[in-house]
Symmetry: C2
């Protein structure tokens, strides 16, 4: 505005009051459920269809799930026609005809056309009432993506029964590894006060098929098992039940001691067993469909059965017996020797396999072992976890991390679906792909929600929540399909800008790998907060907490030898899989330094030396963050100003961080290998000491 | 919906898609700046007025404050006519004609009518550009309250120069004594990313006249003085400058040691002085209008000049010299002996006076002493602080607490304007009322903002933010006027429901006093978190941390003798003031036990015994919380469902808490005095031990 005025005073007219009523701000709160008005042919079709929504009514009983489905359809269709059908009589029909049927997958829904006199209708049927919620959201998604209601036909069954979010939310509101503000759960004022956000949370989850939620951190506080908290949890369970969501609680294994007045939490102690049984009964009295317990035991200082010389199976089975047929124990496979106090010389990535495989067959039927995608800890790239397929008599589910603990936190873009696709598609050599192995069980994602107005800190992080749910529903969906769906619903249906966004998303995780963890490196992040580069850290109490443990770089070379000459972690995979990775000339270079320690001048199949390739990979990461800023800048005409500005800032931050990662890492590697940068590579602008001196006391999520 | 259906299936029609476009949810984010559409005559007048908005343009330069004022007018007027003026030519004019004038109060604005040919206009003039922001918001407020634009004439000057918020926000996002989520300040991503909330925050503040913000906790981290943080703060300062807001920083007194590499922070050490001077220069280079430092020194463990045997004046003056004419040191008067490690037998309420009055006249001109409303610590009721009037050669400002640390936190309603009115109107006997004494300086309020969608945790807490600003602008406004303004802008302009809400607000703080701290009792809250009753606590390290220190109850009586037979805190007031409070028969009973220790059977002027009066006061508190629930329930037709439900839940929680306070307190007093409850009083349902056993590990804000 400045400088556009006339020379004389009183001459600038800013605005006459002929403004339209203000639009609702695009603050991201509505996520992918914005239901932006349709245009053109799609709008005309929907106006013509203009359905009345009918609920199946059984002798006066209307199931709350059907009410939810009808309300969502009314809300979504109303918004998508945005008044264009005002005054027009209802023409079409959407009939929600789900009922409790036996012998079918209760979550399957079918959308079929029907005729009633001269009226056209869509009938939604399903195995249980809740299937109509999925059906309603599917109809809305299809119509939002431009589908013709007159030819719509859907028949969907989720690929796995348990599609779950794990919240690492503490009852005091802090979210461990949370980058989007405080916890969305307001324990303080539950059960009396239910934040409307809890309904919108359930809507978002139901729209992508998530059907289970563990509400609290796996580093659990025992008092959440007390009656005060059971009442709070029951209020959430009641609110979410119509949306098909069952609640789980992370349980602290030592609760019988912490809050139960017992002297022990030994799983073989009858008093301990009785305590848990009574506790389960108490919970089920308040929450008849309580899902069960999620347990992190004997891992990173958490109590567990090994404190009493018992096995993980002993611990899990004791809790499983307390739940009985009513519920499930989800036991985390993320165990390594840190809790023993003594140093374990086993490669950390091998410890879960070593400890758990011998227990195969010992776990009760209602125990699930929850296994991270890779054997280390949610790194930007890891090979699939060798436990998948290695415990055929144990129910395994996948644990993915939606929150980006190691992938930039709430910075820039890192669309994670390609990473999850990578693990889901991985052939284990032991009974199929990971997706096939977990299909009878399910997958869990560590949530990325918080109190941010847009839920996830950055707008793009909502895509990871969305993609997680969609992949759990159907792992055959591609990352690209999911990105396209999400973008169309979140930003714009216009093909050109939509595809530009999709492209940005699809390459974004690889970019983070490039500038933080190229060529199979891992765990080089800053101590504690995991923010920023710190490959030089080598003085932490336990060896496997140190970045130097993982990169093993010195003057001669870099990488972790996990072949037979090293830790032989390869031996935890089948010979066929191991063979893919055993030899530097033939391994997928993306896993090179994960499995091999190589000299800096090792020549790659690309013809480049390892050092040159490393530098080139960092530089590719940096340049792609730069390019993405340009792509986004060009999208100004297509994105609302608030979200455009926020994302532009996110991308600028990411670009700065990429340069920081590249420069700090190279400065450190050079301090070891004394090699000059390859010709043409930009110099490192600061000293290694300067990078090492940076501190971030306000880094979130610890 | 349930049960209303027909017997046969497929018969219930939920909604045909003839819905209007969905309204923006009333989530509270817009605060009192909702600009709800006008109706009736007020709408007709505004449609007729339909002004074009003009900005003064000086030789091509348009001040950003004028842009802000014009944008806000366009937004607010557009929303209030909500399309009713569509297609109509602009008829009236609003002309923003503020300019930089010398010799007048730069914040004063005048709104006057003018004629231009056959057009009617309102001209806003002011002492500086920023005055037009205040003028614009005043016009919007008046029109929103139903004023006729054709007779509008305003001439306002703020009563005091500094109208400030103090945020007790830590850089990691935790808010000390915050009950509305995380900090609104996203230090993590500043300066690159500016949350749009930072603009809405500035709008809200400017609309009520707040012109200064200390962004960080007085328990300060030294690293916020580092260059990284100065850049972050500069981004906020740039964003807020057009709204007339200057930034202040809470400074840790030991920063020269903590981050400066010096061995001392002794204020008389030349190296320390030079360090602060250089630091101030560095800040002013980035933020030319930086307000200055807010300092908590030698208080509750914070470092300060006394660590080096220097006085508060030595410390404050050293910082004042570093700032020079550019800025101000705000030195908190909240000092008591806790930092000495040794026990101080002086009544805690007397220590600030005892320590600071001897320093009167020693503080530099650009030092302000910030004094809490009462001599203890933001209790539900305290007499005014005896420092007011007692340091005539020192600039004193008032520190109030908007966040309800001791008044129920984010529970129910406690409208605090009557409390602040009480202190502002208090005659000190030493140069006028508190309002008169602080008029040349200002007042600060400890903010209650957070990441909650509605900013303040409960919708009603926004009224405290609003009222604080309005009172600082004009302490002559009554609590009732302010409540009426706020309610009309926030909920409804309809007189009957509006007045019902106003009445609820006006009595609400007294209700909290009744059920938590009747008859002048104080500081009986739970240890640490200050949530809930804990009058029995008597084992904390320092005597003045214990509730028992304050109530001094035993078998014989209750209350703190602050007369000449006790601590003689009365002597810190003028003889006339002290005389009001010296004798139990004549003291305002609301201060009775603050100043007197009395036997349980002491007979009050009401005719009741002290014990009977105590019980009756608790019971009045409880019954008023009950009554308020009923009043609110009857307002269903007038309030949007989301906000109505949230407030209904708040009120239900408050009612539960009131009963808890009453019962736990009575159980404890009875354990001492062995007296039965008066006839007709409800029995205490649980044992004292049961109340004492309650714990709240998730209590927020600590």
């Amino acid at each position: 505005m400045r400088g556009r005025g006339l020379v004389n005073r009183l001459a600038m007219i800013v605005a006459a009051v002929v403004l339209p009523a203000p639009l609702c701000a695009e603050d991201g709160y509505d996520l992918w459920l914005r239901y932006a008005p349709l245009e053109g042919e799609a709008l005309a079709r929907l106006v013509r269809f203009n359905p009345e929504i009918r609920i199946n009514d059984h002798a006066g009983y209307v199931d709350p799930s059907l009410e939810v489905a009808a309300e969502e359809l009314a809300r979504g269709l109303g918004a998508m026609v945005k008044g264009a059908a005002d005054g027009k009589d209802a023409d079409g029909i959407i009939e929600l005809a789900c009922e409790g049927l036996e012998g079918v997958n209760s979550e399957r829904f079918v959308v079929k056309p029907f005729r009633e006199h001269d009226r056209f209708g869509l009938r939604v049927t399903g195995g249980d009432y809740g299937a109509c919620v999925y059906g309603a959201f599917a109809i809305l998604r299809e119509l939002s993506l431009g589908a013709d209601p007159y030819t719509l036909a859907l028949d969907e069954t989720p690929a796995m029964p348990l599609r779950m979010l794990n919240h690492w939310d503490n009852p005091d509101g802090h979210v461990e590894r949370g980058y989007a503000g405080r916890s969305i759960f307001e324990w303080w004022h539950l059960p009396e006060k239910l934040d409307p956000r809890m309904i919108d949370y359930a809507r978002a989850n139901a729209s992508i098929g998530i059907n289970a939620v563990a509400v609290n951190n796996v580093n659990a506080r025992a008092f959440m098992l007390e009656p005060r908290y059971i009442a709070k949890l029951a209020r959430l369970a009641d609110a979410w039940r119509p949306y098909g969501i069952r609640v789980f609680l992370s349980a602290r294994f030592s609760a019988p001691r912490d809050i139960g007045g017992l002297a022990t939490a030994d799983p073989l102690d009858p008093a301990v067993q009785a305590w848990w049984r009574a506790k389960a009964d108490e919970i089920y009295a308040a929450i008849p469909d309580f899902g069960g317990f999620l347990v992190k035991a004997n891992s990173e200082g958490q109590p567990g059965p090994q404190d009493y010389g018992r096995s993980h199976a002993d611990g899990a089975n004791m809790l499983a017996a307390a739940l009985g047929e009513r519920g499930t124990v989800i036991w985390r496979a993320f165990v390594y020797a840190v809790e023993y106090g003594a140093e374990d010389s086993t490669d950390r990535t091998m410890q879960a396999y070593a400890e758990l495989v011998p227990l195969d067959g010992q776990f009760a039927d209602n125990v699930i072992l929850q296994v991270k995608n890779g054997p280390l800890d949610f790194q930007p790239r890891e090979p699939f976890h060798p436990l998948f397929g290695a415990m055929p008599q144990t129910r395994l589910m996948l644990e993915a991390q939606i929150t980006r603990e190691y992938l930039g936190q709430a910075t820039g873009i890192a669309y994670l679906a390609p990473m999850w696709e990578e693990v889901l598609e991985a052939g284990t050599g032991r009974g199929g792909t990971v997706a096939q192995i977990i299909a009878p069980v399910g997958m869990a994602g560590v949530a990325n929600t918080g109190s941010s107005r847009n839920w996830t800190g950055t707008h793009f992080d909502a895509a990871n929540w969305y993609a997680f749910g969609r992949l759990a529903w159907n792992p055959a969906l591609t990352s690209e399909q999911i990105a396209r769906e999400w973008t169309a619903q979140t930003f714009t249906r216009d093909a050109a800008p939509r595809e530009a966004v999709v492209h940005m998303m699809l390459t974004s995780r690889e970019t983070v790998v490039d500038y933080t963890a190229p060529l199979g490196l891992a765990h080089l992040m800053g101590t504690g907060h995991h923010y920023g580069p710190a490959p030089w850290v080598c003085d932490l109490e336990r060896p496997e907490w140190n970045p130097c443990y993982y990169h093993r770089a010195d003057a001669a070379g870099i990488g972790f030898d996990r072949t037979a000459t090293g830790s032989n972690a390869l031996a935890q995979y089948t010979p066929e899989i191991a063979a893919q990775w055993a030899d530097p000339p033939t391994i997928d270079p993306r896993y090179l330094l994960w499995f091999h320690h190589l000299p800096w001048d090792h020549r790659l199949t690309s013809g480049r030396r390892l050092w040159e390739e490393l530098v080139a990979t960092y530089d590719r990461g940096v340049s792609e963050t730069e390019a993405r800023k340009q792509v986004w800048a060009a999208l100004v005409p297509h994105i609302d100003p608030d979200r455009h500005a926020a994302i532009a800032a996110d991308l600028a931050i990411q670009s700065t961080e990429a340069r920081w990662w590249r420069n700090a890492s190279l400065a450190y590697w050079q301090s070891l290998n004394r090699l000059p940068l390859p010709d043409g590579a930009a110099p490192v602008p600061e000293s290694l000491a300067a990078y090492q001196a940076r501190t971030f006391p306000e880094a979130p999520g610890q």
